[in-house]
């Protein structure tokens, strides 16, 4: 029997730590471990295109070899390229012909098998022994690996050269140098102070070591960890950032953030100004989205909840709407709803209007009902909200005439939202009209369905397989005229309409 409980438990009790492994990028692992001087401040490696291409090929599913897991492959890959990077020999290798990591592993295995045919497992064990960078990867779950694979190779190659946040730069080193006894003491302390089970606690502690505590290595005390007592309470207290860089790549937190990686409010304000300018100039959505996410994260970890926070979420929501990124839009919208509830300013009316339009898009009657229940009489008279409500009621009553007028009058980002369902509603209107009319002029259809001109309207019909019903007629008064024998395609439009409603994307919906 399917249990409803599992459906509950998840969203209501978010785990204190997210079980997500950080992406183990191909940073020069052995370099930092061999040369302590470089480790404290590893140089930023600029990977040449040839190496990046090599990495891309390594990750290409087509070059996968059965029996070599992607985990082993990644480890080998990392080992290989960092070996050459460390000796500055990247350019001396012909990367296009260099064997791929999976091929190297296969070769190694073959050799090992030749040497001691009876003890294959031992050989494997040996090879994994000297792969010192493998620890972190060995822990990653199959699902995260799979997720990674699905990323396109270009992005992957980009990430190999992405600037690493400081806390990750130190993670390997700290892992290597952490004193064992010290850990145990810390674990005990935490276990006592926390209600969660010992097992969990140990897991968390392991993670904390892995990602966070360069403390033991470089003896720098972070502000939140002034005393052991403070440290135990660390996750609940806000961080005060000290980072002054305007840009920062987003990285999902798996441990408490360190102050030096977090930007304080004044810096974030500058960041926002810089980002809005950049967005207008460059329109690079991937970059902007990433930056906004890190911006939001910095706000969160410092518990900054004010008009600026609202502004950040609003701008991010608008940008994601422009790009049709509903997932990100919904995240922002959820947050905004809660922020508006605390009266921090911003434009609640605008975003209420978006929510209504979004529910029109998803056809979510339950949420729409809740939304209507929330609106105050004052809300209902607000221009933007009223527009959204009119859109809703026009569609509910099948008044396509009014709906397409409203589409042309949409303000702010409302147009982008309505774009998400405009095609669907055109099909609804066509299905409707095809029952009521026998034949109409193309011009009438253009006007009723809110097309820019006859040509666009014609293209729409043609792209939906209704080219046959358009006919050219000569009229004495008006000259050449296009007519649409709409009745003939009634069944066809009905089918298209039903199909359009069967798939609605609802990821991350409020």
């Amino acid at each position: 029997m399917p249990t409803a409980t599992s459906a509950w438990g998840q969203p209501m009790q978010p785990p204190a730590y997210n079980a997500v492994q950080p992406r183990t990028t191909l940073q020069p692992a052995s370099a930092s471990s061999n040369t302590p001087a470089a480790a404290s401040k590893p140089k930023k490696v600029e990977w040449p295109p040839a190496v990046r291409d090599y990495v891309r090929r390594a990750f290409d599913p087509e070059s996968a070899i059965a029996g070599v897991s992607s985990l082993e492959m990644q480890t080998k890959l990392k080992e290989t390229i960092s070996y050459y990077a460390e000796r500055n020999m990247q350019d001396s290798i012909d990367w296009t012909t260099y064997p791929l990591p999976q091929e190297l592993i296969q070769e190694e295995r073959r050799k090992a098998a030749l040497m001691s045919p009876t003890n294959n497992g031992f050989a494997n064990g040996l090879s994994s022994l000297h792969l010192n960078g493998a620890n972190a990867q060995a822990n990653s779950s199959p699902s995260t690996l799979k997720k990674r694979k699905s990323q396109d190779s270009e992005e992957l190659a980009q990430q190999t050269q992405a600037i690493l946040p400081p806390w990750r730069r130190t993670n390997l080193e700290s892992r290597m140098t952490f004193a064992e006894g010290h850990n145990e003491k810390r674990q005990k302390k935490n276990a006592a102070s926390d209600a969660s089970s010992k097992l969990e606690q140990a897991e968390l502690e392991k993670r904390r070591q892995r990602f966070n505590l360069g403390k033991a290595g470089n003896n720098k005390t972070p502000p939140w960890g002034a005393s052991a007592r403070d440290e135990d309470e660390m996750p609940t207290g806000p961080v005060v950032g000290t980072n002054t860089a305007l840009e920062k790549s987003y990285f999902r937190l798996t441990a408490p953030p360190k102050a030096e990686t977090v930007r304080p409010l004044p810096v974030l304000e500058k960041t926002l100004a810089m980002l809005t300018k950049k967005w207008r100039a460059e329109k690079n959505y991937n970059y902007i989205c990433n930056q906004f996410k890190s911006l939001r994260q910095d706000l969160t970890v410092q518990h900054i909840k004010n008009a600026f926070t609202v502004k950040v979420y609003e701008i991010h929501a608008r940008i994601s709407l422009e790009k049709g990124d509903t997932g990100e839009y919904n995240q922002c919208q959820t947050q905004l709803k809660a922020l508006y509830a605390q009266n921090l300013g911003g434009n609640p009316a605008e975003f209420k209007a978006y929510r209504i339009l979004y529910f029109v898009y998803t056809c979510n009657k339950t949420d729409m009902n809740d939304m209507l229940a929330e609106l105050t009489p004052a809300d209902k008279t607000h221009e933007w909200i009223k527009h959204a409500l009119d859109v809703r009621s026009a569609l509910a009553l099948g008044n396509y005439h009014k709906f397409f007028r409203l589409y042309l009058q949409a303000q702010n980002m409302g147009g982008y939202l309505m774009d998400m369902f405009i095609e669907r509603e055109r099909l609804v209107a066509l299905a409707n009209m095809s029952r009521a009319y026998i034949s109409i002029t193309l011009r009438f259809l253009t006007d009723e369905l809110g097309f820019d001109n006859d040509e666009v309207c014609r293209e729409f019909l043609e792209s939906h397989g209704a080219q046959n019903i358009i006919e050219e007629k000569f009229d004495e008064k008006t000259g050449k005229q296009y007519r649409v024998k709409i009745r003939e395609a009634a069944a066809h439009f009905e089918q298209l309409r039903a199909a359009a409603f069967s798939k609605v994307d609802i990821k991350g919906q409020i």
């Binding site: 249990t3 785990p15 909840k305 995240q331 056809c363 008044n399 409707n432 009521a436 002029t441």
Partner: protein, 473 residues
């Protein structure tokens, strides 16, 4: 202790769920307001278990096995602990110093009691009827959880986001205890549904529907209505349940009501109507509140499926229904669109609360149909042709668009000419109205109006016969 447990032993001797459930109540019976207090005073923390064990062992009225009496000892002891918390909370509230976790303590103790019940029922230590006693206990748990949540909500309004999520506002549960209780109910439901006892008389399957109803109530309260679907699905997937009609009427009516409302919310109006009608037919005649609840959904349902408006006597039966639906129904009858819009807007808060707003809104089509029909009737008849008599003469079937436009504007509607056409097109199309979840309306045979629009002649050409199906013309 002997005296304090006498009511339990009497109840147990009846071998009925209800009397035993009455003993395990968080509120004292009306005729004996001091019962809980006396029961609490009959023992103390240290001795309670020994006391109960002694009494049950040496009782003469009931005969139970060692195993059963052990189970009851467990249950009664946890009940005593719950009573202790109840009395503590009561005293605190009487003295006006109610701590914020007082009801939570009651809740926790009561949850222990419920869990003990579950444990012993699934262990087979208790007789078959105990499943219903458990149901009553669980129902109390629901009420106590709601109370505990209220108290928690009052005491700490906002929580700080302590997790590592990327965003500011965390999704901390508002109804923590009730959610927890819902998980308990889920266990009870599984306990009932999964019983493999081949003897149906002894089966816990008889508890399936009442526990399901308990879950529905909880999910509706939690605004997690969609979880109810899982319950319905599990029941429908279970092939070996006793026939539905053999279950107690109370279980059936409530179950049908909730499944009807669920279908209603998913816009499956045909199924909703069927279930609600069954609930209505089986409902106890003087259960006014239940009847009015059923009608709250059945009336909008029938407006959609059959275009049927409730008759005046039905509404007159309940002042609440009259208040909710009265004005709308009058406007629909008259074809008064402006009045309809006004009534809908005025009733909106109530409609939205009952989740019937979006459905009622659609009955505007019927109001419009009635208006258009009036235009058609006012158009009069074609001239008599040879051989035709007064009796079988035909109404004018070609009606100028301007007539319809005039009628709409007379009623106070601001409509453009093309919009009038659009409204008419809708009337012709409406049978196949968009119904994204389930195209149940496709099965309905008739539209609101039959005919087509001719733009060239600015006319509506209506069918000679049955231009407005189902209205006699």
């Amino acid at each position: 202790m002997q005296a304090a447990l006498a009511p339990f032993q009497e109840a147990h001797a009846t071998a009925l769920a209800q009397p035993v459930a009455n003993f395990f109540s968080p509120v004292p019976p009306v005729q004996e307001p001091g019962r809980l207090y006396d029961f609490f005073r009959a023992s103390n923390d240290v001795q309670i278990e020994g006391d109960v064990r002694y009494v049950l062992k040496h009782n003469k009225t009931t005969c139970m096995t060692q195993k059963e009496s052990g189970a009851w000892v467990d249950i009664i002891v946890s009940y005593w602990r719950a009573v202790k918390e109840i009395i503590k909370a009561e005293e605190a509230s009487n003295q006006g110093r109610l701590g914020e976790r007082q009801y939570v303590a009651v809740y926790d103790a009561w949850k222990d009691l419920t869990s003990n019940f579950i444990k012993h029922i699934s262990g087979g230590a208790l007789p078959a009827w105990a499943i219903f006693t458990l149901y009553f206990t669980a129902n109390h748990l629901r009420r106590i959880a709601i109370k505990a949540d209220d108290q928690l909500a009052k005491s700490k309004p906002a929580t700080v986001n302590a997790s590592f999520s990327d965003d500011i506002v965390s999704t901390v549960a508002q109804n923590q205890k009730l959610e927890e209780a819902a998980r308990v109910f889920n266990r009870i439901f599984a306990l009932c549904l999964g019983d493999r006892n081949p003897d149906l008389n002894e089966s816990r399957k008889w508890g399936v529907y009442c526990v399901a109803n308990l879950q529905f109530k909880t999910y509706f309260k939690l605004k997690a209505i969609s979880l109810s679907k899982n319950v319905v699905r599990s029941i429908e997937a279970q092939s070996d349940l006793p026939p539905f009609k053999l279950y107690p009427k109370a279980h059936r009516v409530t179950y049908r009501y909730y499944t009807g409302v669920l279908a209603f919310l998913q816009e499956d109006y045909t199924k909703a109507e069927k279930n609600l009608q069954e609930a209505w037919d089986a409902c106890y005649a003087s259960a006014e509140k239940n009847k009015s609840l059923i009608l709250t959904y059945l009336i909008p349902c029938r407006l959609i499926t059959q275009h049927v408006v409730p008759k005046a006597p039905l509404l007159a039966e309940s002042p609440r229904l009259e208040r909710i639906f009265g004005p709308l129904v009058t406007c629909i009858r008259k074809g008064d669109l402006t009045g309809f819009d006004k009534a809908l807007a005025e009733g909106e808060p109530e409609f939205v609360k009952r989740r019937i707003f979006l459905t009622l809104e659609r009955s505007r089509d019927i109001a419009l149909r009635n208006l258009l029909r009036k235009v058609y009737l006012a158009g009069g008849y074609d001239d008599l042709k040879e051989g035709q008599t007064e009796k079988d003469r035909i109404r004018k079937s070609r009606i100028p668009l301007v007539n319809f436009a005039a009628a709409l504007r007379m009623g106070g509607q601001a409509v453009e000419d093309d919009e009038v056409e659009c409204l008419l097109a809708n009337q012709i199309y409406k049978v196949r109205v968009p119904c994204p979840v389930q195209d149940s309306l496709l099965t309905l045979p008739q539209g609101l109006m039959k005919g087509y629009i001719s733009r060239e002649h600015a006319m509506v050409v209506l069918n000679k016969k049955g231009a407005f199906p189902g209205t006699g013309v």
